[in-house]
């Protein structure tokens, strides 16, 4: 596709809705500015009601922003209706036209663009091949499985060669296994076509697997933006840490500094962790501890009591109490390791470099 790739820019976008019960206005999206690079795959991730779908629908043109301006490339598109925008959306419910067969569904957008029959045929068949639906063009959409329907929806969106491809939780109606294989497929096709893609989901593993960049939203505002590693290892808030992956939070007070490391007092015990230069002694901080970053030992670290010990095959799952705080951890490859049983007293240990410290 010889088109110039275009990015998307949101400039201080807000959307205000009225609460149907109280009649009060509230911000579904508040003062959000984003810059999406041409050709990149960006995920809007967040719990339901965080404004991610509203943002996507504003880009598509189904909703109008109450503040700010949206750009595709350099063009301001606020006043354009969805049919005039250079975007194509893949819907959660697939939204295939039920009275058309696969071919006609994919050809719909091209017919609207008044292409010749031969050209349409060539492009549609090419696109069906790309999404792995060769030979299915004569089927009615209700004769397809969920995964196949999703491929049709994707082909239909791609075939009109939009500047931006929009996904609205496209995999949430599929079963778990299919979801995993489809997301790999979506990523492969996006890379092959090189199109700018914006993907809305509440599934963090989907976001990790697909994205160049993840944007986490909370209550209408962007909580953090970054590539998957940044977000996972350096969450800016407990919300982000908790939302992406599992996280334990250990609260304590900073007592001293040693180069790049700080010491924190947690429940009367001294713990070492990697720390930012701006941290000050005497202030309260929270350690974000991932389950896979911790393990149990007979001594050293934080004293704790095992309250759950469960063999999961590839790992041993523990819940331990550190004082009043519940910590969940996974001891991987447990075959030749010492297994702690419920009620045993032991110690929680972790590398100072494998945790992240947040201001409380």
């Amino acid at each position: 596709m010889g088109k110039v790739k275009k990015g998307v820019r949101l400039d201080h976008i807000s959307k205000i809705y009225q609460d149907p019960k109280t009649g009060k206005d509230f911000y579904a999206v508040k003062d959000t500015s984003l810059e999406i690079e041409p050709g990149s795959f960006v995920t809007l991730l967040g719990p339901s009601g965080c404004g991610k779908t509203t943002t996507l629908r504003m880009i598509a043109g189904f909703e109008s922003p109450d503040e700010g301006e949206i750009y595709i490339g350099d063009e301001a598109i606020n006043e354009l209706t969805p049919n005039k925008r250079d975007t194509a959306m893949v819907f959660q419910s697939y939204a295939l036209l039920p009275h058309y067969n696969v071919f006609d569904n994919v050809a719909y957008g091209l017919k609207l663009r008044k292409m010749s029959k031969d050209e349409i045929r060539k492009r549609v068949l090419g696109m069906l091949k790309l999404v792995g639906l060769e030979g299915m063009e004569g089927r009615m959409t209700n004769q397809l499985s969920g995964g196949q329907q999703q491929r049709v929806a994707l082909a239909r969106a791609l075939v009109i060669e939009p500047s931006v491809l929009l996904f609205d939780e496209p995999l949430s109606n599929l079963d778990a296994k299919l979801r995993v294989s489809m997301r790999t497929e979506i990523r492969r096709i996006q890379q092959e076509v090189g199109i700018t893609a914006i993907y809305v989901t509440h599934d963090q593993s989907e976001a990790m697997a697909l994205s160049d960049k993840i944007i986490i939203m909370e209550k209408g505002v962007v909580a953090q933006m970054g590539n998957p590693q940044e977000i996972y290892y350096h969450p800016k808030s407990e919300f982000v840490a908790d939302f992406i992956g599992e996280a334990n939070f250990l609260r304590g007070t900073m007592t001293g500094r040693d180069g790049n490391y700080v010491t924190l007092n947690i429940e009367g015990n001294s713990v070492k962790a990697v720390g930012d230069p701006g941290m000050e002694a005497g202030k309260n901080y929270t350690i974000v501890l991932r389950p896979e970053a911790a393990s149990l030992a007979d001594q050293g670290g934080l004293p704790c009591t095992v309250v759950l010990s469960c063999f999961m095959g590839s790992y041993q799952n523990y819940h331990v109490m550190v004082g009043d705080t519940l910590v969940k951890l996974e001891e991987h490859n447990p075959k030749n390791k010492r297994i702690y049983n419920v009620g045993e007293k032991c110690c929680l240990v972790f590398e100072p470099d494998s945790v992240h410290v947040l201001e409380s």
Binding site: D25, G61, S64, P65, N83, S93, L97, M140
Partner: protein, 571 residues
């Protein structure tokens, strides 16, 4: 906040304006609804309050001092109440038996016929057959039982005929609701030790109660608004609808009739408001759950046999009543001589009484009105369900309002509103007395039913299907033509036929507006029945039944072979 919110609303408006077809459609719709529904009703109010000397209650004082008007009000309410109760009860019985008891094919078929008959039959049929079977010279009363002075005219006549006419509506409504009750609720009660009666009283009935109220009010409104039956079988027992008609055609008191129409309208609007905003919401709230699996049907003979026999007898009776009219049209002398059957009344109809012209006029006018109605109602439903714009609430409210307006009221409104042109300025005066105004009345009368079925059909369609087409680059018009309309083709087709049938069998508003230049079948039936020429009335009614039944058959065939929705539904 207000200044900020404006941008979104502004943009929405700009996007709408970028769509000229859509904007034009909305404007035309609003103009149509205002001019032909709101305006005639408004003019009634104006008429009845503003006499020669400005605003006053004098017209109302006058009509409320007429004893026959007061009697008409009490008569109407009494009939409406009793008919509402009886129809709901009989409807519930039928619905319960169909949903809960295993029926054999024959009885099931009877039930289906009963549910369809009132839809396809002209309004007078039951009154005619009632007179024929039970009147002074009735086949059953006089010739079988030997009773010579039985009178069917009056209160009981109306009640029986209206109940038989309206109970199938209740039956259909309640059947839908009963099917939506999750059987496991009843099974749970049964499991905890309740008898069938307890289950019915403790579980089924409470869940159904708002629905029963709903059915009662719907029938109540229908009964109050009914013109044809009271006209034919009421005798001296006048209801509001007939009183208004007589006030105009007999007493030439148009202001009085307008005020009476306002009273009738207030009653139906009140009922309608209760039904629509209170009971419908409640019904939906109690019965949202879809049945999780099929219900275990009753096999118990002590319940099954009496219920089935009762309903079967009732169904056969109703069907007999309908068949009487065609048979009656072949009797040589009504009420005296039954054999040999003769076709002489049809000869008379087509020779002396211009039957062919009546057939043609009714047919052509309805045929013009029905596609317009069907398309309009689909457009309105599309706008209401799928689009957002200023004035949407207005369009929805006014098209639903038309449902609560009795035909007689609309007829009086049109006389007052258009005989001298709009606001007596002469504007649109040209349509008064023409076929056009009849067509418009047909459209307005059928619009609410069509819109309602369109709305429920469209609600079933995922909004994102249309959004996806829009997103692919189709404008609103294209979306409507290539996506929406094909998806609701069945609903469109049935709207087409329903509005045709409703139009060709309409009488209440039409009888006030028709000019001698048009011969409409329903008006002819009324005229001959009034004169006592029942044989001729029966012959006309039979022709009408054939037309409407043919239309329904055609539609069924058409949907069977060309309906797209069928293909889609086969999941």
């Amino acid at each position: 906040m207000a200044a900020r919110t404006r941008q979104g609303a502004d943009l929405d408006r700009k996007k709408l304006m970028a769509d000229p077809i859509m904007v034009t459609t909305i404007c035309v719709l609003i103009a149509f609804l205002t001019l032909f529904i709101l305006y005639p009703l408004a003019i009634l109010l104006v008429d009845s309050f503003v006499g020669d000397g400005g605003f006053s209650f004098s017209v109302f004082q006058r009509i409320f001092s007429m004893p026959n008007f007061i009697r008409a009000i009490t008569n109407t309410l009494k009939v409406g109440f009793v008919v509402g109760l009886l129809s709901t009860f009989v409807g519930l019985l039928f619905a319960y038996v169909e949903v809960y008891v295993r029926l054999n094919k024959f009885v099931g078929g009877l039930f289906q016929v009963v549910s369809m008959l009132p839809v396809v039959s002209p309004p007078f049929v039951l009154s005619l057959s009632m007179i024929m079977l039970f009147g002074k010279a009735g086949i059953i009363t006089r010739h079988i039982l030997g009773i010579y002075d039985n009178s069917v005219y009056g209160y009981w006549g109306i009640v029986i005929v209206q109940t038989l006419t309206f109970f199938p509506v209740c039956y259909m409504m309640l059947k839908g609701l009963l099917k939506n009750i999750d059987p496991s609720l009843e099974e749970a009660a049964r499991d905890m030790g309740a008898s069938r009666w307890r289950v019915f009283g403790d579980v089924t009935l409470p869940l159904l109660l708002p629905g029963l109220g709903n059915a009662f009010l719907v029938t109540f409104i229908e009964s109050i608004a009914d013109f044809a039956n009271p006209m034919l079988i009421g005798g001296s027992y006048d209801t509001l609808a007939t009183t208004i008609y007589l006030q105009i055609t007999g007493a030439y008191d148009k202001a009085g009739a307008a005020a009476m129409a306002v009273v009738l309208l207030c009653i139906t609007l009140l009922m309608f408001a209760v039904q629509k905003y209170y009971l419908e919401a409640k019904t939906a709230a109690t019965l949202t759950g879809k049945a999780s699996r099929a219900r275990m049907l009753m096999e118990d003979k002590s319940v099954k046999i009496p219920l089935t026999v009762l309903c079967t007898l009732a169904a056969i009776f109703v069907i007999l009543m309908y068949i009487c009219v065609p048979i009656g049209s072949f009797f040589p002398t009504w009420g005296r001589k039954f054999f040999p059957l003769t076709g002489k009344w049809y000869e008379l109809v087509f020779t002396r009484y211009k039957g062919f012209k009546a057939f043609k006029d009714s047919f052509v006018l309805s045929l013009i009105a029905s596609p317009i109605t069907a398309l309009l109602s689909m457009i309105i439903s599309y706008l209401v369900v799928k689009r957002n714009f200023h004035g949407k609430g207005f369009i929805e409210a006014v098209s639903m309002l038309a449902m609560a307006v009795p035909g007689t009221v609309l007829g009086v409104g049109y006389i007052r509103g258009f005989s001298g042109g709009v606001f007596n300025t002469g504007f649109l005066q040209g349509i008064y007395g023409t076929g056009l105004i009849l067509i418009i009345v047909f459209i307005v009368r059928s619009l609410p039913t069509g819109t309602r079925s369109g709305i429920s059909a469209l609600r079933q369609i995922d909004k994102s299907i249309e959004e996806s087409a829009y997103d692919m680059g189709a404008d609103s018009f294209k979306v409507f033509m290539t996506v929406t309309l094909p998806l609701i083709k069945d609903s469109f087709l049935s709207g087409l036929v329903t509005s045709f049938v409703r139009s060709i069998t309409a009488i209440s508003a039409i009888i006030l507006l028709v000019t001698p230049q048009f011969l409409l079948i329903t008006v002819q039936i009324n005229e001959f029945a009034e004169k006592g020429s029942y044989s001729l009335a029966c012959a006309f009614a039979t022709i009408l039944i054939i037309i409407t039944y043919g239309a329904v058959l055609l539609m069924n065939l058409f949907t069977k072979y060309f309906g797209t929705s069928r293909k889609i539904k086969e999941d």
